[in-house]
Symmetry: none
Subunit: 228 residues, 2 copies
DNA sequence: GAATCTCTTCAATATTTCAAGATAACGGAA
DNA sequence: TTCCGTTATCTTGAAATATTGAAGAGATTC
């Protein structure tokens, strides 16, 4: 039985998560502050950590960063809330493997968990940098370069691109992207997504009208592939 | 047309919701107390339930819990009011899929509904990957390969093929396929089905005119077999 | 108050879906 | 077996639908 550590200070969310995870036959450990979470993660044999960002004593990002510094490679799923959107990017830099924006549905969370626990599918994006073909990205500085020529992406463009990179190869629908990157509380249209795609393509693709990385999947959405 | 059941005792909210949903082309059923809601949910074919927590006779959480106990897996969206915020996550424990806090904007509600109704969000018997003979398919990435050579299928071709794979070995009539894959609202001819079969064969069969997987059953329909 | 970022709108363009018709294959009856 | 009506295959092209890309309005940030 796989063991999951939940680090979350809101008791309602904590018990809610605990229940649904136990129903899915996971063994659950809990911690209600960052320090305890960090100790548990170091002490126990754990398959995955669900880590809130806002935590007493030591925040989720510090916990994550410190664990990575210690060489702990366990998949970490971050829980972020709306106001912390800007911090999501940090979570990436900090070494988290994926994130879910609150409020989330159990289905979505479970899907992410199953994904992270699938053998060989651990996305170890522990670095703040990512490179493919002739493009390299620095998520900490929000900069990139293509063939050594630097370019800039806005914060949101970076988030969108990051989302695609985290879910490399998967087809992502516009609605999913809106929910996960824009969040539940804003309502741009799916056209907006298209425009972000276009604008990102202009920067990362050699020939934006014949994309090799950020591909259209007609009637469904888009997907990112590392090698075209 | 997707059918939504609203269980809500406040007539103002109820009619408001009904109007919004009908505008969005949903079919709407209503119930004004928990017991009636429960009965409706069990009796009718429903795509989603919008369930208030405070209800006469039987409260929303009990309705939800009981439905889940009965094995009803329909997505349930809970309506909670401000004071119950702390209990929001209880919805998870109880088996709801998501919740909206009153007062809510129509946009927000619709966003949640679309989210819950989106295929793949509710856990159904999803095929993620599938392989037979020299062909492998990835339904999440919407790509396939034959003898290691990648090929592409359109979204609908994938759906048709998936339907055959799920019903492996069964003979499927053209009409059944139209009803199940195309749905009741569209009316293509049975010739269209033939075209899809043709086009899928071109991609997955070594010799499309002598199919070994997607077989014709004369005068009846087609069937998929893994090994020919 | 300028500059940048975000989002919407709309026409052009591309892809997919579907139907119709010609040809080939099938299967039962003589 | 051969014939003939029925069913399936496959090509082609038009209609429906989706995506692209530019331009501009509105919001935010510095």
């Amino acid at each position: 039985m796989k063991r999951i550590l939940i680090v979350e200070d809101d008791p309602a969310i904590l018990t809610g998560l605990e229940t649904i995870l136990k129903e899915e036959q996971y063994e659950v450990l809990t911690a209600m502050d960052g320090e305890k979470g960090y100790r548990e993660a170091r002490k126990e044999e754990i398959a995955l950590i669900i880590l809130d960002i806002m935590l007493p004593k030591k925040n989720g990002m510090d916990v994550c960063r410190d664990l990575r510094k210690d060489g702990v490679g366990i998949p970490i799923l971050m829980l972020t809330s709306k106001k912390e959107e800007m911090d999501e990017v940090m979570g990436f830099e900090v070494g988290a493997n994926d994130y879910v924006t609150k409020p989330f549905s159990p289905q979505r969370l479970l899907a992410r968990i199953r994904n992270l626990l699938r053998p060989g599918n651990v996305r170890d994006k522990e670095v703040a940098e990512y490179a493919f073909q002739n493009v390299s990205l620095d998520f900490k500085r929000l900069e990139g370069s293509k063939n050594g020529v630097p370019f800039e992406l806005s914060a949101k463009e970076f988030e969108v691109l990051k989302y695609f990179i985290i879910h490399e190869g998967e087809v992502i629908s516009r609605d999913t992207l809106l929910d996960d990157v824009w969040g539940y509380e804003s309502f741009p249209t799916t056209r907006t997504v298209d425009n972000y795609i276009l604008s990102i393509r202009k920067k990362i693709e050699d020939n934006p009208s014949q994309p090799r990385h950020l591909l259209t999947v007609h009637t469904v959405g888009y997907k990112f592939v590392k090698e075209g």
